[in-house]
């Protein structure tokens, strides 16, 4: 019941990212369960197109799989904008509870309507701010810092509201721009900060944890429908097994990256819960402005799940 298939799976991150651990696990499971008939051919570092291009190829049915963070997909599934909202999740436990519960199913349905089958939520993780000017410990410290953010309206809004000059810039230009001080800072998870060597050109790392981005492991709906039920279920199983090791690896590596960034001389500061609450208060207009575009339904799904997770 398994056909010979080579599945093209593209990734924007490099192979040494925890996603690599997850993909490897998937490959092992496919090899074991299908007798080597179904194979994953993985491409790394955007070598086979960026995440949005790949996602469109999935919808067209010209490519099987992509692992992408939710942010670039907002133009296709506007509800995914929820995950760009600032200071939404407090920790990984909350994120897991929401994504693996009914809210996760809700987004899977939205993705499926757009021609994408989400096999599992993996993790990109909490994003933190680095800059070359000063430690950012309270909301006033954001003032006047030139920060590169993704080309995404909610991120742009958030950083403008916090008082920074938000500069949309393509990722490949960021390192040089930080080096020559064209911009002062950028925001990404620890792992990305370390693998992109931003510590060489940035002095301060502030643990702002201002957004949590999930990775989606997507399969082309068009091609999914051509698979046998056994093939589908083995792929789902592989992606879920991959999720377990990927999340663990991601959390471990983030801790390791933070320690190593410290060791390499970055000045790291935490943000107290009280200050984080002040930041959250300051970005309320971002919620007010963007909830209507995201859709109140999607936002409520997440907020309800969060309430449950927080035991209220």
């Amino acid at each position: 019941q398994f056909a010979d298939r080579t599945i093209k799976f593209t990734n924007g991150v490099n192979e040494d990212h925890p996603v690599g651990v997850g993909v490897k696990k998937m490959q092992e499971i496919l090899a074991a369960k299908t007798g080597g008939k179904m194979k994953i051919n993985a491409f790394w570092g955007g070598s086979a197109g960026n995440d949005l291009q790949a996602t469109q190829a999935l919808r067209a049915g010209t490519q099987e799989m992509v692992c992408t963070s939710s942010s670039p997909l907002v133009g296709i599934v506007k509800e995914l904008g929820v995950f760009d909202l600032p200071f939404l999740f407090a920790n990984e436990k909350e994120a897991d509870a929401v994504l693996d519960g009914p809210a996760g199913v809700y987004f899977n349905k939205k993705l499926e309507e757009a021609g994408l089958v989400n096999l599992a939520y993996w993790e990109n993780g909490f994003r933190n701010l680095t800059n070359s000017k000063r430690p950012v410990a309270k909301v006033e410290d954001f003032e006047g810092v030139k920060v590169r953010v993704m080309q995404n309206n909610i991120f742009l809004d958030t950083f403008k509201t916090l008082g920074t000059n938000a500069v949309p810039m393509a990722f490949p230009e960021v390192f040089t721009a930080l080096e020559t001080k064209t911009i002062d800072g950028q925001e990404n998870p620890f792992v990305t900060i370390e693998t992109s060597k931003f510590n060489e050109v940035q002095k301060y790392l502030s643990v702002t944890r201002h957004a949590y981005t999930p990775f989606l492991v997507l399969y082309s709906k068009k091609l999914w429908d051509q698979l046998s039920p056994q093939e589908q279920s083995v792929l789902r199983e592989a992606a879920i097994e991959g999720q377990k090791v990927q999340r663990i690896a991601n959390r471990q590596l983030n801790e390791k990256s933070l320690a190593s960034l410290k060791a390499k001389g970055m000045v790291v500061n935490d943000v107290t819960p009280a200050e984080q609450a002040r930041m959250f208060a300051k970005v309320q207009p971002v919620y007010a402005k963007n909830v209507p575009t995201i859709g109140a339904d999607a936002v409520n799904q997440v907020l309800d799940a969060l309430k449950k997770a927080r035991g209220k």
Binding site: Q56, A60, G75, I76, Q151, N153, L156, N165, P168
Partner: protein, 187 residues
Amino acid sequence: MKKPVDLFFKLLELLVVVSLVAMVIMVFGNVVLRYAFNSGILVSEEMSRYCFIWLTYIGAMIAMRERGHLGVDTLVKHLPRLGKKVCLFISEALMLLCNVLFFVGTWKMHELQVTNVSPVVGISMIWIYGIGYVVAAVMALFNLHVLWRLVSGRITEDELVQVVESEDMPHGDLTDTEALLKDGVRP
């Protein structure tokens, strides 16, 4: 027939100039705003990229009409007339195939682009990818025109080679020594 076609290409030329000027204003404006006023035009990065795509494809149609696309004519040049004709026929037929596939592919992706909006400006991406319809159709018409002239025996000698070997061959008065020396170079 000649006149409306000329007019159409004059319009395309105007669009090329407008796109390039818009790109200059947006990107340069962003540098000035960021450096002098610590602010910026948020749509600049995205819109200048879209202008760039339009410029590329609109300019490519003009270049096709002027036979200005890059190619290798070394081999074809040395063929006898019949050989040149055979090569031209195959080449135009293959290009026609590419253009038809470009058109069909754009059509098949139409819905996917309509339902994909740009992250900052929020326009539907069909405005960008839809350029495929125009380019593929216009280029295919060129191919059909050349093929028809070839088959009906009207093709002229200089039409038999449709490419140039380099993109930035100097144009106009750059090679006109007199014009460059209008004020005289001091010896």
